[in-house]
Symmetry: C2
Subunit: 153 residues, 2 copies
Protein backbone atom coordinates (compact mmCIF):
# COMPACT_ATOMS: atom_id res chain seq x y z
CA UNK A 1 0.00 0.00 0.00
CA UNK A 2 1.30 3.37 -1.00
CA UNK A 3 -0.39 5.01 1.98
CA UNK A 4 -0.24 8.70 2.68
CA UNK A 5 3.13 9.01 1.09
CA UNK A 6 3.05 12.57 0.06
CA UNK A 7 2.05 14.54 3.12
CA UNK A 8 3.37 18.06 2.80
CA UNK A 9 3.00 17.93 -0.98
CA UNK A 10 0.05 20.01 -2.12
CA UNK A 11 -0.40 18.13 -5.39
CA UNK A 12 -3.66 16.81 -6.82
CA UNK A 13 -1.85 14.12 -8.81
CA UNK A 14 -0.18 12.81 -5.66
CA UNK A 15 -3.50 12.78 -3.79
CA UNK A 16 -5.12 10.71 -6.51
CA UNK A 17 -2.19 8.33 -6.56
CA UNK A 18 -2.67 7.77 -2.84
CA UNK A 19 -5.98 6.15 -3.77
CA UNK A 20 -5.20 4.56 -7.13
CA UNK A 21 -1.65 3.50 -6.26
CA UNK A 22 -2.82 1.30 -3.42
CA UNK A 23 -2.06 -2.25 -4.40
CA UNK A 24 -4.86 -3.87 -6.49
CA UNK A 25 -7.15 -0.85 -6.34
CA UNK A 26 -6.52 0.09 -9.96
CA UNK A 27 -7.41 -3.38 -11.19
CA UNK A 28 -10.57 -3.45 -9.11
CA UNK A 29 -11.59 -0.13 -10.66
CA UNK A 30 -10.73 -1.38 -14.14
CA UNK A 31 -12.96 -4.42 -13.58
CA UNK A 32 -15.84 -2.33 -12.24
CA UNK A 33 -15.65 0.38 -14.88
CA UNK A 34 -14.79 -1.59 -17.98
CA UNK A 35 -15.63 -5.23 -17.46
CA UNK A 36 -18.96 -5.02 -15.66
CA UNK A 37 -17.65 -7.01 -12.73
CA UNK A 38 -19.71 -6.48 -9.59
CA UNK A 39 -19.54 -9.21 -6.98
CA UNK A 40 -16.89 -10.36 -4.53
CA UNK A 41 -16.58 -13.75 -6.18
CA UNK A 42 -16.22 -12.24 -9.65
CA UNK A 43 -13.40 -9.98 -8.45
CA UNK A 44 -11.79 -12.91 -6.66
CA UNK A 45 -11.87 -15.13 -9.74
CA UNK A 46 -10.58 -12.45 -12.12
CA UNK A 47 -7.77 -11.05 -10.00
CA UNK A 48 -6.32 -14.06 -8.20
CA UNK A 49 -5.96 -11.99 -5.05
CA UNK A 50 -6.26 -13.07 -1.41
CA UNK A 51 -9.79 -12.79 0.04
CA UNK A 52 -8.72 -10.62 2.96
CA UNK A 53 -6.88 -8.20 0.67
CA UNK A 54 -9.82 -7.93 -1.71
CA UNK A 55 -12.16 -7.40 1.20
CA UNK A 56 -9.98 -4.60 2.61
CA UNK A 57 -9.72 -2.89 -0.78
CA UNK A 58 -13.46 -3.00 -1.41
CA UNK A 59 -14.19 -1.69 2.09
CA UNK A 60 -11.76 1.15 1.54
CA UNK A 61 -13.31 2.10 -1.80
CA UNK A 62 -16.78 2.08 -0.23
CA UNK A 63 -15.55 4.28 2.64
CA UNK A 64 -14.03 6.67 0.11
CA UNK A 65 -17.34 6.78 -1.78
CA UNK A 66 -15.73 5.41 -4.94
CA UNK A 67 -17.87 2.27 -4.88
CA UNK A 68 -21.29 1.76 -3.39
CA UNK A 69 -22.34 -1.57 -1.98
CA UNK A 70 -25.86 -2.94 -2.23
CA UNK A 71 -27.49 -6.25 -1.30
CA UNK A 72 -27.63 -8.69 -4.15
CA UNK A 73 -29.65 -11.80 -4.96
CA UNK A 74 -31.66 -11.79 -1.72
CA UNK A 75 -28.82 -13.15 0.45
CA UNK A 76 -28.07 -11.21 3.62
CA UNK A 77 -24.32 -11.30 3.03
CA UNK A 78 -24.19 -11.01 -0.76
CA UNK A 79 -23.38 -7.61 -2.13
CA UNK A 80 -22.61 -6.06 -5.43
CA UNK A 81 -20.30 -3.10 -5.88
CA UNK A 82 -21.23 -0.28 -8.22
CA UNK A 83 -19.15 2.66 -9.38
CA UNK A 84 -20.04 6.16 -8.18
CA UNK A 85 -19.26 9.39 -10.04
CA UNK A 86 -15.93 9.43 -8.21
CA UNK A 87 -15.13 6.08 -9.82
CA UNK A 88 -16.33 7.08 -13.30
CA UNK A 89 -14.06 10.11 -13.12
CA UNK A 90 -11.09 7.77 -12.70
CA UNK A 91 -11.54 6.32 -16.16
CA UNK A 92 -9.29 8.98 -17.76
CA UNK A 93 -6.56 7.89 -15.33
CA UNK A 94 -6.95 4.29 -16.45
CA UNK A 95 -6.94 5.32 -20.12
CA UNK A 96 -3.80 7.45 -19.68
CA UNK A 97 -1.96 4.70 -17.79
CA UNK A 98 -3.02 2.21 -20.47
CA UNK A 99 -1.90 4.38 -23.38
CA UNK A 100 1.59 4.66 -21.92
CA UNK A 101 1.82 0.95 -21.14
CA UNK A 102 0.55 0.06 -24.62
CA UNK A 103 3.22 2.22 -26.19
CA UNK A 104 6.20 1.44 -23.96
CA UNK A 105 5.53 -1.85 -22.19
CA UNK A 106 3.40 -4.04 -24.44
CA UNK A 107 5.67 -5.81 -26.95
CA UNK A 108 2.81 -8.12 -27.96
CA UNK A 109 0.48 -5.20 -28.66
CA UNK A 110 -2.27 -3.72 -26.51
CA UNK A 111 -4.00 -6.31 -24.32
CA UNK A 112 -7.20 -4.28 -24.44
CA UNK A 113 -8.72 -1.63 -26.68
CA UNK A 114 -11.24 1.02 -25.69
CA UNK A 115 -14.39 1.55 -27.67
CA UNK A 116 -17.32 3.95 -27.63
CA UNK A 117 -20.24 1.78 -26.50
CA UNK A 118 -22.81 3.43 -28.76
CA UNK A 119 -20.94 3.29 -32.10
CA UNK A 120 -17.96 0.99 -31.53
CA UNK A 121 -15.41 3.66 -32.53
CA UNK A 122 -11.96 3.77 -30.92
CA UNK A 123 -11.83 6.05 -27.89
CA UNK A 124 -8.82 8.33 -27.78
CA UNK A 125 -7.61 10.69 -25.12
CA UNK A 126 -6.50 14.05 -26.45
CA UNK A 127 -5.00 17.23 -25.13
CA UNK A 128 -6.88 20.30 -26.20
CA UNK A 129 -6.13 23.99 -25.70
CA UNK A 130 -9.25 25.95 -24.76
CA UNK A 131 -7.76 29.08 -26.29
CA UNK A 132 -6.31 28.13 -29.67
CA UNK A 133 -8.17 24.84 -30.02
CA UNK A 134 -5.07 23.01 -31.08
CA UNK A 135 -4.03 19.74 -29.57
CA UNK A 136 -1.15 20.52 -27.31
CA UNK A 137 1.90 18.30 -27.56
CA UNK A 138 2.83 17.11 -24.05
CA UNK A 139 5.99 19.20 -24.29
CA UNK A 140 3.95 22.38 -24.81
CA UNK A 141 2.22 22.11 -21.44
CA UNK A 142 3.35 24.21 -18.48
CA UNK A 143 2.03 24.37 -14.91
CA UNK A 144 1.15 27.63 -13.22
CA UNK A 145 0.03 28.16 -9.62
CA UNK A 146 -3.72 27.68 -9.09
CA UNK A 147 -6.11 29.04 -6.45
CA UNK A 148 -5.40 26.15 -4.06
CA UNK A 149 -1.67 26.62 -4.02
CA UNK A 150 -0.08 26.68 -0.58
CA UNK A 151 3.64 26.06 -0.49
CA UNK A 152 4.68 23.45 -3.03
CA UNK A 153 2.59 22.87 -6.12
CA UNK B 1 7.61 1.00 -3.60
CA UNK B 2 4.78 -0.70 -5.39
CA UNK B 3 7.16 -3.14 -7.03
CA UNK B 4 6.11 -5.77 -9.51
CA UNK B 5 2.77 -6.14 -7.88
CA UNK B 6 0.76 -7.31 -10.78
CA UNK B 7 2.62 -10.25 -12.23
CA UNK B 8 0.17 -12.47 -14.02
CA UNK B 9 -1.99 -9.49 -14.95
CA UNK B 10 -1.62 -8.66 -18.63
CA UNK B 11 -2.70 -5.05 -18.22
CA UNK B 12 -0.98 -1.98 -19.65
CA UNK B 13 -2.40 0.27 -16.93
CA UNK B 14 -0.93 -1.98 -14.22
CA UNK B 15 2.45 -2.03 -15.95
CA UNK B 16 2.56 1.75 -16.06
CA UNK B 17 1.56 1.96 -12.42
CA UNK B 18 4.51 -0.26 -11.54
CA UNK B 19 6.70 2.63 -12.68
CA UNK B 20 4.63 5.66 -11.71
CA UNK B 21 3.29 4.20 -8.45
CA UNK B 22 6.77 3.81 -7.01
CA UNK B 23 7.04 6.22 -4.13
CA UNK B 24 8.14 9.74 -5.17
CA UNK B 25 8.54 8.85 -8.85
CA UNK B 26 5.42 10.73 -9.88
CA UNK B 27 6.57 13.91 -8.16
CA UNK B 28 10.02 13.67 -9.74
CA UNK B 29 8.37 13.37 -13.14
CA UNK B 30 6.04 16.28 -12.40
CA UNK B 31 9.06 18.43 -11.49
CA UNK B 32 10.99 17.41 -14.62
CA UNK B 33 8.09 17.76 -17.02
CA UNK B 34 6.30 20.79 -15.67
CA UNK B 35 8.62 22.77 -13.44
CA UNK B 36 11.87 22.62 -15.38
CA UNK B 37 13.72 21.08 -12.45
CA UNK B 38 16.87 19.27 -13.51
CA UNK B 39 19.53 18.81 -10.87
CA UNK B 40 19.83 16.61 -7.80
CA UNK B 41 19.92 19.59 -5.45
CA UNK B 42 16.83 21.15 -7.06
CA UNK B 43 14.87 17.91 -6.64
CA UNK B 44 16.12 17.59 -3.07
CA UNK B 45 15.05 21.12 -2.14
CA UNK B 46 11.62 20.86 -3.79
CA UNK B 47 10.61 17.43 -2.55
CA UNK B 48 12.00 17.21 0.98
CA UNK B 49 12.97 13.59 0.36
CA UNK B 50 15.95 11.64 1.72
CA UNK B 51 19.10 11.82 -0.46
CA UNK B 52 19.41 8.04 -0.78
CA UNK B 53 15.77 7.67 -1.84
CA UNK B 54 16.07 10.44 -4.41
CA UNK B 55 19.27 8.91 -5.73
CA UNK B 56 17.65 5.48 -6.07
CA UNK B 57 14.61 6.91 -7.86
CA UNK B 58 16.71 8.90 -10.34
CA UNK B 59 18.93 5.88 -11.04
CA UNK B 60 15.86 3.75 -11.66
CA UNK B 61 14.34 6.30 -14.05
CA UNK B 62 17.64 6.51 -15.96
CA UNK B 63 17.83 2.69 -16.18
CA UNK B 64 14.26 2.63 -17.47
CA UNK B 65 15.15 5.26 -20.08
CA UNK B 66 12.60 7.71 -18.70
CA UNK B 67 15.27 10.25 -17.77
CA UNK B 68 18.66 10.77 -19.30
CA UNK B 69 21.58 11.99 -17.25
CA UNK B 70 24.25 14.30 -18.56
CA UNK B 71 27.23 16.09 -17.00
CA UNK B 72 26.44 19.58 -15.88
CA UNK B 73 28.45 22.70 -15.08
CA UNK B 74 31.85 21.11 -15.71
CA UNK B 75 31.95 19.15 -12.44
CA UNK B 76 32.74 15.45 -12.73
CA UNK B 77 29.95 14.47 -10.35
CA UNK B 78 27.30 17.06 -11.26
CA UNK B 79 24.54 15.87 -13.52
CA UNK B 80 21.30 17.12 -14.84
CA UNK B 81 18.34 14.91 -15.62
CA UNK B 82 16.32 15.44 -18.76
CA UNK B 83 13.04 13.84 -19.82
CA UNK B 84 13.03 11.37 -22.71
CA UNK B 85 10.05 10.63 -24.96
CA UNK B 86 9.05 7.96 -22.47
CA UNK B 87 8.79 10.68 -19.83
CA UNK B 88 6.93 13.15 -22.05
CA UNK B 89 4.37 10.45 -22.78
CA UNK B 90 3.63 10.27 -19.05
CA UNK B 91 2.24 13.80 -19.00
CA UNK B 92 -1.30 12.61 -19.84
CA UNK B 93 -1.08 10.35 -16.76
CA UNK B 94 -0.15 13.33 -14.60
CA UNK B 95 -2.93 15.44 -16.12
CA UNK B 96 -5.53 12.72 -15.57
CA UNK B 97 -4.44 12.13 -11.96
CA UNK B 98 -4.49 15.89 -11.38
CA UNK B 99 -7.96 16.38 -12.86
CA UNK B 100 -9.42 13.79 -10.50
CA UNK B 101 -7.60 15.18 -7.48
CA UNK B 102 -8.67 18.72 -8.35
CA UNK B 103 -12.28 17.62 -8.54
CA UNK B 104 -12.47 15.27 -5.58
CA UNK B 105 -9.60 16.03 -3.23
CA UNK B 106 -8.80 19.74 -3.47
CA UNK B 107 -11.22 21.67 -1.22
CA UNK B 108 -9.08 24.83 -1.58
CA UNK B 109 -9.18 24.65 -5.38
CA UNK B 110 -6.55 23.31 -7.79
CA UNK B 111 -2.98 23.83 -6.54
CA UNK B 112 -1.78 24.05 -10.15
CA UNK B 113 -3.30 24.82 -13.53
CA UNK B 114 -2.05 23.60 -16.90
CA UNK B 115 -1.48 26.01 -19.74
CA UNK B 116 -0.47 25.78 -23.39
CA UNK B 117 3.02 27.30 -23.45
CA UNK B 118 2.59 29.05 -26.80
CA UNK B 119 -0.74 30.84 -26.20
CA UNK B 120 -1.41 30.53 -22.45
CA UNK B 121 -4.76 28.78 -22.96
CA UNK B 122 -6.03 26.18 -20.49
CA UNK B 123 -5.04 22.64 -21.44
CA UNK B 124 -7.85 20.12 -21.15
CA UNK B 125 -7.84 16.38 -21.54
CA UNK B 126 -10.74 15.06 -23.56
CA UNK B 127 -12.12 11.73 -24.65
CA UNK B 128 -12.80 11.54 -28.34
CA UNK B 129 -14.41 8.85 -30.45
CA UNK B 130 -12.53 8.31 -33.71
CA UNK B 131 -15.74 7.12 -35.37
CA UNK B 132 -18.50 9.54 -34.44
CA UNK B 133 -16.21 12.33 -33.29
CA UNK B 134 -18.19 12.90 -30.16
CA UNK B 135 -16.61 13.21 -26.78
CA UNK B 136 -17.39 9.99 -25.04
CA UNK B 137 -18.64 10.24 -21.48
CA UNK B 138 -16.50 7.96 -19.29
CA UNK B 139 -19.54 5.72 -18.81
CA UNK B 140 -19.79 5.14 -22.56
CA UNK B 141 -16.37 3.50 -22.79
CA UNK B 142 -16.03 -0.27 -22.97
CA UNK B 143 -12.92 -2.47 -23.20
CA UNK B 144 -12.53 -5.17 -25.82
CA UNK B 145 -9.67 -7.67 -26.18
CA UNK B 146 -6.69 -6.30 -28.14
CA UNK B 147 -3.94 -8.07 -30.14
CA UNK B 148 -1.74 -8.50 -27.07
CA UNK B 149 -4.33 -10.25 -24.99
CA UNK B 150 -3.17 -13.42 -23.29
CA UNK B 151 -5.30 -14.60 -20.43
CA UNK B 152 -6.61 -11.72 -18.35
CA UNK B 153 -6.99 -8.30 -19.93
Amino acid sequence: MLGRTYEGQNCSAARTLELVGERWTLLILRDVLLRDIKTFSEFLAGLGIARNVLSARLDHLVREDVLRRRPYGGHADHYEYLPTDKAADLLPVILALTAWGDRWAAPQGPPALFRHSSCGGAVEQKLECAECGELADPREVVAVPGPGRQGTM
